[in-house]
């Protein structure tokens, strides 16, 4: 199974490189293809990191704009996927840090928009998935979970999102964040512990 996954990732990387080489030769359409391949993953990373649909949309645009401007200098020394994710994580961190963002972001705003609740699957409910009661409960849990994620320091937030929501491997996360493996493990452990303290009883 791992071999299949590795093969799939290897193929993805080859496809990415083919598109990047085409872009570097001047084929602008290749960039569109790269956006379409990664837009959902990057958007979801931004959405969970920032906890706001519109901020996530803006930041995703920023990420791809930076990618577009830097892609000519891409040297194929790392995978495009980790390179893109690195841009995305740094963009999200900067967004959080930015004064503008701090000024505009209020607790009221963290009262999340409906789009963000859509991601939380209702399951194991006695009244069955998809029922109005379970949907309401799922949204409430999602709301609390997102608030708990928002309360984490950016470094912990990034590792927990990359690992537990996006499902990346430790190796990929160290490539993206630049953390050493030990640092990554301890930050992930602290982040999970913190989330469990905040919402563990509800789950």
């Amino acid at each position: 199974m791992n071999d299949k996954l590795d093969n799939s990732k290897s193929q993805d990387q080859k496809d990415d490189f083919t598109l990047i080489r085409a872009f570097q030769r001047g084929e602008k359409a290749s960039f569109d293809a790269l956006v379409l391949r990664y837009k959902d993953r990057i958007f979801n990373l931004c959405l969970r990191f920032l906890g706001d649909y519109h901020e996530a949309e803006d930041t995703t645009q920023d990420v791809f704009l930076k990618t577009y401007n830097s892609l000519k200098r891409f040297r194929f020394e790392s995978s495009f996927f980790t390179w893109l994710y690195r841009i995305a994580v740094n963009s999200c961190k900067n967004k959080v840090k930015s004064l503008e963002y701090r000024f505009r972001k209020t607790d009221a705003r963290i009262g999340l928009s409906d789009e963000i609740f859509d991601g939380f699957q209702s399951e194991h409910r006695e009244d069955g998935p998809g029922s109005p009661a379970s949907d309401l409960e799922s949204k409430e849990i999602m709301n609390l979970l997102q608030k708990a994620i928002n309360s984490l320091p950016p470094d912990q937030r990034s590792v927990v999102i990359l690992r537990d929501i996006q499902g990346l491997s430790y190796e990929e996360i160290t490539d993206i964040t630049g953390f050493k493996l030990g640092t990554l493990k301890s930050r992930l452990s602290r982040a999970r512990g913190s989330l469990r303290e905040k919402i563990g009883d509800i789950l």
Partner: protein, 302 residues
């Protein structure tokens, strides 16, 4: 709580991810079998991780690609420049860049403006800028001419006057004289004297003795500048710049503003300096109440 519980709980995150070595994995497993508290912590953590893993991805907005392409098209020149310079990438502080830009501007300022204009800019005061002439480069300002005719220039903004009429004049300097002359007061003038100079209070004539043989004499740059001072003063002019020829030291360019009513007198007085290269321009009718800005090129001596 058992003694090893705190340590075991620290390992739970890695235990769930199966990233502990085999001996630690076994140790945690055994502990969870016998410790209810740690077992519940383990279940809660596992449940949280499963929950997060079950968060269904939200689709990116449909028009995301379109918006990205719009922003790419709309990228300003400044953005591209910023990206090209990549200050952050090369660790070049923006403050240093701003300082460098200021220095370049200052350098440009000091190289672009002639020395007199620099002084005007640098010595503002009460709406007036004092014109400080360098005595070395302007021999006209000698000790005997402390109340030089041209000492200050009003800042344009302080008066709100209408723009003066601009006139350009080219003049070939007369640098030699054949006569040995002696100044006499005008009241003593008689036939045979020729008018070649004046002072503000009295008119003096230069007496020549045609009976004496005189030698041709070259007029010095100081004398020429003094003559210019006198002319400017006599027409109530305000001189704003005078440039001397670097090699000969004779004045080569003069800019002054005079009342339009004194324009004729000014042209007449130029006879004492040299010969006009072209008929003097006439002022348009109705401009008598204004002023005339004269830019004069003086042909340097050969």
């Amino acid at each position: 709580m058992r003694q090893e519980c705190p340590h075991i709980r620290q390992l739970l995150s890695e235990y769930i991810d199966c990233t502990l070595d085999s001996s630690e994995m076994s140790r945690v497993t055994e502990h969870l079998h016998v410790c209810g508290d740690c077992s519940r912590s383990h279940e809660a953590l596992k449940s949280l991780i499963i929950r997060m893993g079950n968060i269904r991805p939200v689709e990116a907005p449909d028009d995301l690609l379109e918006k990205i392409n719009d922003r790419i098209k709309g990228q300003s020149i400044l953005d591209r420049l910023r990206e090209a310079l990549s200050f952050r990438r090369i660790g070049f502080p923006v403050e240093l860049a701003a300082f460098a830009a200021s220095a370049i501007l200052l350098l440009f300022f000091f190289n672009f403006f002639p020395p007199e204009e620099k002084d005007i800019f640098l010595k503002p005061g009460n709406g007036k800028a004092e014109l400080v002439m360098d005595r070395d480069s302007s021999p006209a300002q000698t000790a005997e001419n402390q109340s030089s005719p041209v000492q200050s220039v009003d800042s344009p903004s302080s008066e709100g006057q209408t723009n003066p009429h601009r006139i350009e004049i080219k003049l070939a300097l007369s640098l030699t004289t054949q006569d040995e002359a002696v100044p006499i007061p005008s009241q003593n003038a008689s036939y045979g004297n020729s008018l070649i100079g004046s002072t503000p209070d009295d008119i003096y004539l230069w007496q020549t003795d045609n009976d004496k043989k005189t030698e041709k004499r070259v007029i010095s740059p100081d004398e020429v500048n003094l003559k210019i001072d006198e002319i400017v003063l006599s027409v109530e002019g305000k001189e704003s710049s005078r440039e001397n020829d670097d090699v000969s030291g004779y004045p080569a360019h003069l800019t002054l503003e005079i009342p339009a009513v004194n324009y004729r007198r000014f042209i007449t007085r130029l006879d004492g300096l040299g010969a006009l290269q072209a008929p003097p321009p006439t002022l348009p009718e109705g401009s008598e109440n204004g002023s005339v800005l004269i830019q004069m090129d003086l042909a340097p001596p050969q």
